[in-house]
């Protein structure tokens, strides 16, 4: 019994570790709607700077449920000084999350001086 404990502990660690690796833990992306937390998971956040200096961001996630959901995201951009950059692109943008499927969306920064961003996701409001 004593010998079995470390094995069970290791198995538990592997299982939980496996689950955790598919979930994104990044302060820049969050789901703010409690009703979809756990049902919609964010998996990857990638950003790159294009040749003309604009930051592009791609968010990938998964709808773990068997139900189609219409979601929306809002992207905020921050300049080098950490100040918010106002833009018409900062608005709630709808996107589909099909049942048991991955989803992705991409956004481009409004200017080259943008150095950081924040994206929030919720269930579409209408």
């Amino acid at each position: 019994m004593i010998k079995k404990t470390p094995v069970i502990f290791l198995l538990l660690l592997l299982v939980l570790g496996g689950c955790g690796s598919s979930k994104l833990n990044d302060r820049r992306a969050s789901i703010i709607d409690g009703s979809i937390k756990g049902k919609i998971v964010l998996q990857e956040l990638s950003s790159l700077i294009s040749s003309d200096g604009l930051m592009s961001v791609q968010v990938t996630g998964k709808n773990t449920t068997g139900k189609y959901r219409l979601l929306e995201y809002r992207m905020e951009w921050f300049g080098m000084d950490g100040m918010l950059v106002p833009t018409v692109m900062t608005r709630w943008v709808k996107f589909p999350a099909f049942e048991k499927s991955s989803f992705s969306f991409r956004a481009v920064a409004p200017k080259a001086a943008v150095k950081d961003f924040r994206v929030i996701i919720r269930k579409a409001q209408q």
């Binding site: 003309d52 018409v88 692109m89 709630w92």
Partner: protein
């Protein structure tokens, strides 16, 4: 008795009146309307700017900024719309992107701001310090032109339901070659009671 009736009527009607509230544009939970409202213009403008920047069409080779002239934006919907509701949002963001600057000295029906030309008439005036008057050959001609069309289609879905489709079509043309560098279309579709008006 009359006074009492008047007071009662006043109370009744004031109770029914919808209170005026400001729209929270960041989290507007107001129901969609069959016509076009500010949310639709924000969507169309946001999609256009995002697409233009992502395509690289406004990235000038070697750096610098393109000069953009606003051409004809046709309103072919059943609604009375000032197309500047759309174009202004696009202009503001393109200017802030640092990749485009808009000329107000050139327009299809004359300059948007005639002051640039008008102020040149001061060259004749002895009242003005001539070194402060705009010289000749200083205006910059546009490189790009933005044109477009707003379309509407009304479709009867059933006896009580109608579908209204709006298309925001925009084209960015390279003036020197006449070639379209970027084209975009935003679609906004609405379905609702056929009693709702979309004009």
């Amino acid at each position: 008795m009359k006074k009492l009736s008047a007071i009662l009527a006043l109370l009744f009607f004031s109770g029914c009146a919808t209170p005026v509230t400001h729209i929270d544009t960041n989290n507007d939970k107001g129901k969609a309307v069959m016509g076009l409202d500010y949310r639709d213009f924000q969507t169309a403008a946001g999609e256009a700017v995002s697409s233009m920047l992502q395509s690289g069409a406004v990235a000038k080779p070697g750096g610098g900024r393109y000069v953009l002239a606003i051409s004809r934006i046709v309103n072919d919907t059943m609604q009375r719309i000032d197309t500047d509701q759309l174009v202004k949002k696009i202009r503001v963001d393109l200017l802030q992107s640092g990749k485009v600057v808009v000329t107000t000295a050139v327009g299809l029906t004359g300059p948007e701001d005639p002051m640039a030309m008008k102020s040149r008439q001061l060259r004749q005036s002895a009242e003005f310090n001539q070194s402060t008057v705009a010289g000749t050959g200083q205006m910059i001609a546009p490189d790009l032109s933005l044109s477009g069309k707003l379309l509407q289609r009304n479709i009867r879905v059933s006896s009580g339901t109608q579908q209204v489709e709006y298309y925001f079509q925009l084209t960015l043309t390279d003036i020197s070659t006449g070639l379209a560098l970027w084209e975009g279309e935003s679609f906004i579709g609405k379905r609702g009671s056929s009693k709702s008006v979309s004009w």
